[in-house]
C-alpha cells in the first residue's frame, strides 16, 4: 500500500514548492525554474503512478490525514479518497501543469515578479490536485478558495495590460459569490449530517432529502456551476482568459473549469445521488444546451483571439455538462472524455495564441494576417487544435462528440422526451459553428496576406514549441486510439461516478468493497485499425505526390504592402489585373450572411454582456435562485 501516500505527497509537494519558490526563487531564474519543475514533475509522476492501482486493479485509495480513522463508523478527520473518477480528472490536470510550466519558463521570462507568478502557479496546481483527490467536503471548499484567489491574482498578473485588473476584479467578485454559496451549502449539510466526509454524507442523505439539504443541494450546484463557468455565470471568464498570460489561460480552461465539473459530479452523483431523477437530468441538459449555443454564437462575433477561445471554453464545458446531465453510461463516458479532450485541444489552442502573442505582440485578429509563412509550426499546431475542437473525424474532438450525440439520441429514444433530440440538434449545430469560428481565426491570423509591418515575426523558441507538439500528438492519439483510452481510463471513471455505495463502503474501511457494484461497459467498435492503416498509407502517398509535383513552380515570397509589390506577375495573387495591394479579409468581415440573420439575437447579447460587475453578480444570484427553485420543486 505504498501508493496510499502518493496523493498527499503530490498535493503537499506543490504547496511546499509554492512556499520555496517564494523564498528562494525571486532572485535567480534557474533556481526558480528548477524548484517549479521538481515539484510539478513530482506531482505528475505520483499521479500517473496511481493509474495502475486505481484504474487497472480497480482499488480505491483512502488516506486519513494524521491517521484520524473514523470512530465507530463516523468520519472525523479529513479523508483523501482517490477513486477512478477523481484520478481521471487528476491525470489530465497534472499533464496540463507540466506542459504549462514548461511553456511559461520561456514565455514569461520577459516579465518581472516571476517569483510571485510561480508561487501563484504552484498554489493553483496544488488547489486543483487537492480538490481532485479529496474526499472531504470542507477540504474541497478550501481548495476551491485557493484556486479562486490564485486565479484572480494570475488573471491580473500583467496589470499593465488593458483590462487585466478589471478582469481580476470581476473574477474575484463572481468567484467569491460562488464560493460563499458553496460555504453556505457545506454549512447546511454539516448542520444536517454532522460530518464533512463526502462518502458519509452521501450515505446519510441517501433517500431522505430534507428541505434544508435540498436547499444545500441548490446552493452547491450553483456554487460549483460558478466554478465551472456555465451559462449565467460565465461572464468573468471572457475577460480573465483574455488578459491572463497564455499558460495561465491554458490552466484556467484546462483545469479550473474542470474542477467545477468534478464538483458538480461529486455533488450530484455521489453526495446527493439525485441524478436518477428525470427533472435533474433535464435541468442539466437545458443548462448545457444554453451554454453551448450562446457561447458559440458570441464567439463568432469576437475579433480578439483569446476572447474567442474563452467563449469556446464555455461552450465546450456546456457539452460536458449536457453529457453528464444525460446520466446514462455512454453519456457520462462521453462527457468525461470530452472534458479530457477539451483540456488537451483548448490547452493547445491557448498555447498557440500565446505563441502568436509572443511573436507578434498582439492577439487582435484585425492586425494579424498571413502568419503561416512566418510561423509554420505554430500554424500547423493551431490547425490540429482547430480541427480537434470542431470535431473533424481523425481528431479527438470527434470521438467524444460522437459519443455525446449517440448518448443524447439514445436517451431521447428510450425516454421519448423530445428535449434530448433538441439537445442533439443543438449540439451538432454548435459544433459546426465552432468550426466556423475557427475557420475565421485560421483565415484571419494564419492564412491570407502578411502585413508588411508584421515582417519581423519569427517562430517561437523551441521550449515553447515542445508543449504544442505534445498537445497536437495527444489530440491525434486520443482521436484515433480512443478505444484504448476508453478501456483503460474512461470506463473505471464512469463506473466510479455511478457507484456511490462502493465509494462509501471503501471510505469507511473495507477496501474489499472496491470491486462490488455493477460495472457498465460500452462497445465502440467503429474504426477497425486495418482500414486506418491502409487509409493512412494512401494519404501519405498522396502527400508525397503533392509535394513532389510542385517543385518548380513557386515564386519568391511576396510581402503585400511592401516595396516588391509584384514579384513577377505570374506568381502574384490574382487581383483582377490590379497590382496586388494589401487587402486582407479580416475576421470581422466574415460570415456576413449569418450575422445579418442573427443581428437581433446579437443585440440581445450585446446588452447582456455590458461589462459592469453588479449586473454579472445579479446574473449569478438570479441563476442560483432559479436552480434552487427547480431543485425544490422537482427533485423532492
Amino acid at each position: 500500500m505504498m501508493y496510499a501516500h502518493f496523493p498527499v505527497i503530490a498535493v503537499m509537494g506543490l504547496f511546499l514548492g509554492a512556499f520555496l519558490v517564494e523564498i528562494f526563487g525571486t532572485k535567480n531564474k534557474y533556481i526558480r525554474n528548477t524548484i517549479v519543475m521538481i515539484f510539478v514533475l513530482l506531482a505528475a509522476v505520483l499521479t500517473f503512478a496511481l493509474i495502475k492501482p486505481v484504474m487497472v486493479n480497480g482499488e480505491i485509495i483512502t488516506y486519513w490525514m494524521g491517521s484520524w480513522e473514523p470512530v465507530e463508523g463516523w468520519a472525523i478527520g479529513i479523508g483523501y479518497e482517490v477513486d477512478a473518477l477523481g484520478l481521471f480528472f487528476g491525470l489530465f490536470c497534472a499533464a496540463t501543469f507540466v506542459l504549462s510550466a514548461i511553456y511559461s519558463f520561456r514565455y514569461m521570462d520577459s516579465d518581472d515578479h516571476l517569483g510571485h507568478y510561480y508561487t501563484l502557479f504552484l498554489m493553483l496546481c496544488g488547489g486543483v490536485l487537492g480538490l481532485v483527490f479529496t474526499g472531504d467536503l470542507f477540504n474541497m471548499f478550501i481548495m476551491v478558495e485557493i484556486i479562486t484567489f490564485a486565479s484572480a491574482a494570475l488573471a491580473a498578473f500583467r496589470n499593465y495590460k488593458f483590462g487585466a485588473l478589471e478582469a481580476g476584479f470581476k473574477y474575484l467578485v463572481i468567484g467569491s459569490v460562488g464560493s460563499s454559496m458553496i460555504l453556505f451549502g457545506v454549512a447546511l449539510i454539516y448542520l444536517q449530517t454532522h460530518t464533512l466526509n463526502i462518502a458519509q454524507i452521501g450515505n446519510e442523505m441517501a433517500g431522505n432529502l430534507t428541505p434544508v439539504t435540498i436547499l444545500a443541494l441548490g446552493l452547491l450546484i450553483m456554487g460549483f456551476s460558478v466554478k465551472a463557468f456555465i451559462f449565467p455565470f460565465h461572464t468573468p471568464v471572457v475577460d480573465s482568459y483574455a488578459t491572463a498570460p497564455a499558460p495561465i489561460s491554458m490552466m484556467f480552461s484546462g483545469t479550473v473549469n474542470k474542477i467545477g465539473v468534478l464538483g458538480l459530479i461529486r455533488v450530484l452523483y455521489q453526495m446527493f445521488r439525485v441524478m436518477d431523477k428525470e427533472a435533474m437530468q433535464m435541468t442539466l441538459v437545458v443548462i448545457g444546451m444554453a451554454t453551448m449555443f450562446i457561447a458559440v454564437t458570441c464567439a463568432l462575433a469576437q475579433h480578439r483571439l483569446k476572447r474567442l477561445l474563452a467563449y469556446h471554453s464555455i461552450s465546450q464545458v456546456g457539452y460536458v455538462i449536457m453529457a453528464i446531465g444525460l446520466a446514462t453510461p455512454l453519456g457520462v463516458t462521453g462527457g468525461l472524455f470530452h472534458a479530457m479532450n477539451h483540456t488537451v485541444f483548448k490547452g493547445l489552442l491557448f498555447l498557440c495564441a500565446g505563441a502568436v502573442f509572443y511573436a507578434a505582440g498582439t492577439t487582435n485578429m484585425d492586425k494579424l494576417g498571413g502568419l503561416s509563412k512566418k510561423m509554420p509550426l505554430t500554424c500547423a499546431c493551431f490547425i490540429v487544435g482547430a480541427f480537434a475542437i470542431s470535431g473533424i473525424p481523425p481528431f479527438n474532438g470527434f470521438a467524444s462528440k460522437w459519443m455525446i450525440y449517440l448518448a443524447a439520441y439514445n436517451k431521447g429514444m428510450e425516454t421519448g422526451n423530445f428535449l434530448y433530440i433538441a439537445a442533439t440538434i443543438v449540439a451538432v449545430v454548435t459544433s459546426v459553428m465552432t468550426l466556423a469560428s475557427f475557420i475565421k481565426v485560421t483565415q484571419t491570423v494564419f492564412f491570407g496576406q502578411l502585413k508588411a509591418t508584421n515582417d519581423y515575426i519569427r517562430d517561437v523558441p523551441l521550449s515553447m514549441r515542445i508543449p504544442m507538439w505534445i498537445g497536437s500528438a495527444l489530440c491525434i492519439f486520443l482521436g484515433v486510439g480512443y478505444n484504448f483510452v476508453n478501456k483503460t481510463i474512461l470506463n473505471p471513471a464512469m463506473n466510479a461516478a455511478f457507484s456511490a455505495e462502493r465509494y462509501f463502503d471503501v471510505m469507511m474501511g473495507d477496501p474489499a468493497a472496491a470491486s462490488a457494484g455493477t460495472n457498465y461497459t460500452i462497445n465502440l467498435s467503429v474504426w477497425n485499425p486495418i482500414l486506418w492503416l491502409v487509409l493512412f498509407a494512401i494519404v501519405f502517398a498522396a502527400v508525397a505526390i503533392a509535394i513532389i509535383t510542385t517543385k518548380k513552380t513557386v515564386g519568391k515570397v511576396m510581402l503585400s504592402g511592401s516595396d516588391n509589390q509584384d514579384p513577377d506577375g505570374k506568381y502574384a495573387v490574382f487581383f483582377s489585373g490590379e497590382r496586388s495591394q494589401y487587402s486582407h479579409v479580416v475576421g470581422s468581415d466574415m460570415f456576413w450572411g449569418f450575422r445579418k440573420n442573427f443581428s437581433k439575437y446579437f443585440d440581445v447579447f450585446h446588452k447582456f454582456h455590458n461589462g459592469n460587475v453588479n449586473d454579472y453578480a445579479t446574473y449569478c444570484v438570479v441563476g442560483g435562485i432559479i436552480i434552487t427553485i427547480i431543485v425544490f420543486i422537482f427533485v423532492r
Binding site: D566, D568, G569, K570, F574, S576, G577, E578
Partner: protein
C-alpha cells in the same frame, strides 16, 4: 505513360476554357462572345466554358483596343494564365485599334504584348466566326500541349 499523355494532349483541345479580357471594347464583341454560349450557337458542344479566373483559363480572348488604363492590367492577367495557353483577338480593335487608331489613349495592337494565336476579324464578328476562331485556338492548344511535353 504515353497513353495517358496522349489522352491529356487530346483532352487539351476538347475542353478549352475561355477567359475574356475587355481592354476598352465597345462591348459589341463582348456580347458576341457571350452570344456564342446561347442555345442557338451553343459553343458548349465543344467544351467551351467561360471561367472566372485566369488561373483556370486555356484560351484568353481579348477584345477592345488596348487603352492606356487597361494595358498594365492586360499584361499582368496574361502572365497569370498557366501554360499551355492561346490568345485570341476578337474583332478588329485589338489588331489595329479600328476607328480609335491614332488616339492619344490607345496603346497600339495586341501583337505588341503577346503573340496572337488566332485573329477573328470583323467589327463584331459573326458568332459562327467566333466559334470557328475558338475552335482553331483549341486545335492550337493541343499542339502547344504536345510541344510542352517534349
Amino acid at each position: 505513360m504515353s497513353v495517358l499523355s496522349k489522352i491529356i494532349a487530346d483532352s487539351a483541345s476538347k475542353s478549352p476554357w475561355i477567359y475574356h479580357i475587355n481592354t476598352g471594347s465597345c462591348n459589341g464583341c463582348d456580347i458576341e462572345l457571350v452570344a456564342v454560349l446561347t442555345p442557338r450557337y451553343d459553343a458548349e458542344r465543344f467544351g467551351f466554358k467561360l471561367t472566372g479566373s485566369p488561373r483556370h483559363a486555356d484560351i484568353v480572348v481579348v477584345s477592345g483596343p488596348i487603352t492606356t488604363q487597361s494595358e498594365e492590367r492586360l499584361k499582368r492577367t496574361l502572365e497569370q494564365v498557366p501554360e499551355p495557353k492561346c490568345v485570341v483577338s476578337l474583332g478588329s480593335c485589338p489588331q489595329s485599334g479600328n476607328v480609335f487608331k491614332g488616339s492619344y489613349s490607345i496603346e497600339g495592337p495586341l501583337e505588341k504584348y503577346v503573340h496572337v494565336d488566332v485573329t477573328v476579324a470583323g467589327c463584331t464578328p459573326k458568332p459562327e466566326a467566333v466559334i470557328e476562331g475558338l475552335y482553331k485556338a483549341a486545335g492550337i492548344l493541343k499542339k502547344k500541349r504536345e510541344a510542352m511535353k517534349k
